[in-house]
């Protein structure tokens, strides 16, 4: 699969990365080689193995019991910006 600069910018946008960021040109350049490597998988014929459902595994559930959560102060201490006891972000609604 050929990876164009346009593809790279499209993927960067999906991943919320800045294609104009420092060092990104090298990342874009490396993508082609890495994609060529993973493309080797296309030559593998898996015969009748097509589904990806793992029937051996079961979903692990816990009882729905209330337990104490982490300390609010400890959690907010890690937030980059705090106002009035909550995490603050730029305005998201016009």
């Amino acid at each position: 699969m050929a990876i164009t600069r346009e593809n790279v910018e499209y993927i960067a946008n999906l991943a919320r990365l800045d294609p104009k960021g420092k060092g990104f040109d090298k990342i874009a350049e490396d993508m082609q080689g890495i994609v060529s490597m993973v493309d080797q998988l296309q030559e593998l014929d898996l015969g009748d193995i097509t589904d990806v459902i793992d029937t051996e595994r079961k979903n692990a559930m816990r009882e729905d019991v209330p337990v104490p959560s982490y300390d609010k102060e400890d959690i907010l201490a890690n937030a980059p910006s705090v106002e009035c006891g909550g995490v603050s972000v730029p305005r998201v609604v016009e």
């Binding site: 990365l17 990342i27 490396d30 993508m31 080797q40 998988l41 400890d74």
Partner: protein, 485 residues
């Protein structure tokens, strides 16, 4: 013999016999670290004050006549992607440089319950993505056998801390070889347990279906002792396997007469250096002399392991690392224009190039139009790899292979070419894809006096076979407890 040259098993016996206190051991560990750390650079954070307090508490319990677990009072280092309450946990990333977890990982609770004394947090490739420890944004770690060479990665700091005698045991994590390859490069023992054996609760996720925490030591017994502490079901990790575990330490037995050992022909061909191949084949000969039956086997899908691994691990990484957006915790850019720009700038400035590369690949293979060709196919191929191993384990008890194509390469040698770096993972990734246990230990030295490692792969929950086979080789070869520097 100095205290730093002793194994954890020896230190455990000395503590029990009251020949030494945990405070003395801990002081000795920090004295050794002060002497060698400038050359090695194993740690991102040292926690000396807390370690000495924890050691004093263990000594008090012992003095009061309390019956203590085997490793109580022994110093241990912990990889810096494992959450430690109130002690910064960075993942060697600018993104988490100032992150103080509000909780302890389950393995930290287990270390505390077993009375181990944490000395500090060790360096890694950023978010455990890398094979040389050079992707750390915060610290440079060098191979204790030769500081011009890399430690391997991603658990490079853990391996180096053990090899340099800063500690006798360490906790690391392995997603595609991150315990085993640095263990090999640094001449120590590293065990990647069966997937689901050790709780991943509090391990900062890279690729959740592949990640597993495991021990390092300078001998097989030490790795087994620490594995016994780490293993066990945990309801906080939905991938934790609900079962009981017998003690690996109690089950250690070096008599391997009649054990069947498989040599997969795909692991000894093109791309593997002659010195490495020869050394691992010599180990196979040792096994023959010890009474094991060594047979050639085939793992035909081995050549597809690398693409499968990089598709699955990058896809999961792109999803797991979406949480780092500059909002609730972690790095936030100083300048931004609106909420989307806050995400983009925080992530681009906070993540290093290798992490961005993997997020890009992961996003690509999961994106509309490519999902079936890459991710879905890789998941189906994962089943085929598992079937490959299942077939092999119908014939043999364990599989013996090289760990990496070469011994530790020079610092900077592979940093400009990520693909070349990825190729170095060829012998280790299929173990994670299949969820199997594997152990690495030294089997020789190359012409530059750098350690060569060998890998023993076992069936699911077959750790006892691995440590027994490893112990037999260790006793026969004398390659045990190698302290560099």
């Amino acid at each position: 013999m100095e205290l730093y040259q002793k194994t954890a098993a020896e230190l455990s016996a000395m503590l029990k016999n009251k020949e030494v206190s945990s405070v003395e051991l801990t002081k000795a560990a920090f004295a050794r670290t002060a002497a060698v750390e400038e050359k090695v650079g194993a740690y991102i954070t040292l926690t000396e004050e807390k370690a000495l307090a924890d050691a004093a508490a263990i000594d008090a319990k012992r003095a009061a006549g309390e019956e203590l677990p085997l490793l109580a009072g022994v110093p241990v280092s912990v990889k810096d992607n494992i959450c430690t309450k109130g002690i910064r946990t960075t993942c060697a990333s600018k993104m988490l440089e100032n992150f103080n977890p509000p909780y302890d990982a389950t393995v930290m609770d287990k270390l505390h319950a077993a009375g181990l004394v944490m000395t500090g947090k060790t360096n890694l490739d950023e978010f455990a993505m890398g094979s040389s420890c050079e992707n750390s944004a915060l610290q440079k770690t060098r191979n204790p056998h030769n500081p011009d060479h890399v430690t391997g990665g991603s658990s490079g700091g853990a391996a180096a801390s053990v090899a340099a005698g800063e500690v006798s045991i360490a906790v690391g994590s392995d997603t595609g070889g991150s315990i085993r390859q640095p263990a090999s490069f640094c001449g120590v023992v590293g065990l990647k347990p069966t997937y689901g054996t050790v709780s991943r609760y509090g391990l900062i996720a890279f690729a959740s279906s592949l990640d597993q925490i495991g021990p390092f030591g300078r001998c097989v017994e030490d790795a087994a002792m620490l594995a016994d502490v780490l293993r066990g079901y945990d309801k906080m990790d939905s991938t934790s396997y609900p079962r009981e575990y017998d003690s690996l330490t109690a089950g250690l037995n070096a008599d391997i007469k009649g054990m069947k050992i498989g040599l997969p022909k795909e692991y000894f061909g093109e791309g593997i250096s002659e010195e490495v191949s020869k050394s691992v084949l010599a180990a196979a000969e040792t096994y023959r002399q010890l009474g094991a039956e060594v047979v050639e086997i085939s793992l035909p899908l081995s050549k597809y392991a690398l693409p499968i691994y990089y598709i699955l691990s990058s896809a999961e990484a792109s999803s797991n690392l979406a949480r780092f957006d500059g909002v609730k915790y972690g790095y936030r850019a100083e300048q931004f224009d609106g909420i989307i720009d806050l995400y983009v700038k925080s992530r681009s400035e906070g993540f290093g190039p290798e992490v961005q590369r993997r997020i890009m690949l992961g996003t690509y293979v999961l994106s509309s139009g490519y999902y079936d060709a890459y991710y879905k196919k890789a998941r189906a191929a994962q089943r085929a790899i598992r079937a490959d191993y299942a077939k092999a384990f119908e014939q043999v008890d364990v599989i013996l292979t090289p760990v990496a194509p070469t011994t530790a390469y020079k610092v900077g040698e592979k940093t400009s070419d990520p693909l070349q770096m990825y190729m170095g993972d060829i012998c280790t990734v299929s173990v994670n894809i299949a969820g199997l246990p594997a152990m690495v230990q030294p089997c020789g030295f190359d012409s530059n006096k750098l350690p060569i490692g060998m890998q023993l792969i076992g069936p699911r929950f077959g750790e006892q076979k691995l440590v027994n086979a490893g112990l037999a080789f260790e006793k026969a070869s004398g390659l045990s407890n190698i302290v560099a520097l």
